[in-house]
Symmetry: C2
Subunit: 329 residues, 2 copies
């Protein structure tokens, strides 16, 4: 069987993760990386694979089965995914939940017009967490769903810390509140706001001579970011920062507390969780396995846009239906 | 929109659970229950629904969209599902893992020949646990999967206890070993046998004057069932038994410990768990939501046999694709 030929657009943390994830799948190969930078300045981890300018992508359409687009959701993907869908089967990890319907419509139109297949919003949230919300709510229609995030780095909150005067380095972890999770697990179906479900844990390297009390106060009082949360600020040395706070862990929990039975008194609890040492590497692994499904569904003649909800799970695995039933069912 | 017309074959714990689950879904209605017993002896929980002899089922084929078959896997389903697939779109919870390929082939043949659609092995294991194994292994190909069961009642082991002389009532719970689960969560990818992952907890009501020490010894030494497990036997009164041990709780955990990254040193952990107060009611809820998918896929013209692996998640929900993308992605 010939391998599925994958290309990557955008070579940041996510793009590098996709490159490494492809190596873990024998039925796929990386055939090129596209960038807005000068290609000669981009050094890949893989020998023998070329880096191209994104402007040259369309010329290579015949050599690429699936283009994995690794840009940011704020400005890159809303433009890149519909544009690249004119020439490629594309997949992205667009994660601005509120703008998904609009992004879907744009990508669907471009892909249908050009006869390609696209998938958007693949990763873990949106993505695997969305799937778990859908499965759990379909199975237990009488119930309540909860999503908790963390422990993990929030880029926006880390940026906010670094804007405080006197802060040299800073990082913020969003942490789920154990007591809130236990309340959900008890079946009491509590009403919980995002604030009640999470605390904010900050690590800061202060500039020499900076007023640490003032920094702590500035962070804890920051409107929208920290003021309504239980926030902890820890001051550490730059050595500690480099040693303990340069990876990108994340994760979270999707829970469904449901009721069944004659008088709705039977409690049924479904829980899904991720504990990730690297958020971008994991998101990349999700993208790569959905790229397999994308290539297969395109080979069946499908066009337009899809999400995780539309993909039968068997398409994700390199195993045949027969093997899956024998080994995994 | 007209409702999906569901019928039930077999009215035990699972069949009763299906009857109650249908009430939680506005787009479905129960139109009949089929039994091998004298129909006049079967009292449903639902007013106005009739009970029929299973021999009369085929005559009612035009009035039923999906037949949910609630028999046992040992002898009922291998016979009933292919037979009923000649007249109906059918779904069952066949759970003898080793015989799934054979059952699939039989049901697939019958359904294709008669132009019906069938789904087998729906529930939580096989079913939701299988799905989680498939998703997790496709996403993290370099890793190890673990399934833990419990805390939950094992019917086979409870039966074995009740065969011991001097035992009046008895029940056995399979319990996952916390230390083994924590070892998996640590990322060490331990080799664990089923025995190392589970303990056996027994509650026994002894006959008056019975030798409790002898009962305990007989249970703990029972070959294949208990001798190689860490087994605890608790003697309780009949009142305690009736108060605490007549429901059918179950559950378990599916875990995938995987590695990603340049040198495979990044640990990524996926965990799915169920904590069910009623095993049959939850299995019934899974069957009913897959019955919705079955009716939709049949309306698209599909025939033959499917499993959970073949069903795109969107088919399980009463919401439209547009609603799902806006609310749940």
């Amino acid at each position: 069987m010939s391998k599925t030929r994958i290309a990557i657009t955008g070579y940041g943390n996510l793009g590098r993760g996709v490159e490494l994830a492809i190596r873990q799948n024998d039925d796929m190969e990386l055939v090129g990386v596209f960038t807005r930078r000068d290609p000669s300045t981009v050094k890949l981890a893989t020998e023998g694979v070329k880096v191209y300018n994104i402007a040259d992508a369309a010329k290579m359409a015949d050599e690429i089965d699936v283009m994995i687009i690794c840009g940011g959701s704020a400005t890159d993907l809303p433009r890149q995914t519909p544009e690249l869908a004119k020439s490629f089967n594309v997949i992205d990890s667009f994660d601005t939940h509120a703008r998904i319907p609009e992004h879907f419509a744009n990508v669907d139109k471009a892909a249908k017009e050009s006869g390609h297949l696209a998938m958007i919003s693949l990763g873990w949230d949106p993505g695997l967490f969305s799937l778990n919300r859908l499965y759990a709510e379909s199975i237990l229609p009488d119930g309540k769903s909860y999503t908790f995030w963390g422990k993990g780095v929030s880029q926006g909150h880390s940026d906010a810390i670094r804007r405080v005067p006197g802060v040299k380095r800073g990082i913020q972890y969003t942490c789920p509140v154990e007591a809130a999770m236990d309340a959900v697990r008890s079946g009491s179906q509590p009403e919980l706001t995002t604030r009640e479900k999470h605390t904010r844990l900050c690590y800061v390297v202060a500039e020499e001579g900076a007023d640490k009390a003032a920094i702590e106060q500035a962070i804890k009082g920051m409107k929208n970011y920290f003021d309504e949360y239980d926030t902890t600020v820890n001051f550490i040395t730059e050595e500690e920062f480099d040693r303990d706070h340069t990876s990108m862990p994340h994760g979270g929990f999707v829970m469904r507390s449901g009721k069944t039975g004659k008088d709705g008194s039977t409690h049924q609890m479904i829980e899904y969780s991720l504990k990730l040492e690297s958020n971008p590497e994991f998101t990349a692994s999700v993208l790569v396995c959905y790229a397999r499904a994308l290539a297969r569904l395109r080979a069946e003649g499908q066009t337009g846009c899809r999400t995780a909800f539309d993909i039968a799970p068997a398409y994700l695995s390199p195993l045949s239906g027969e093997e899956l039933r024998a080994k995994m069912l």
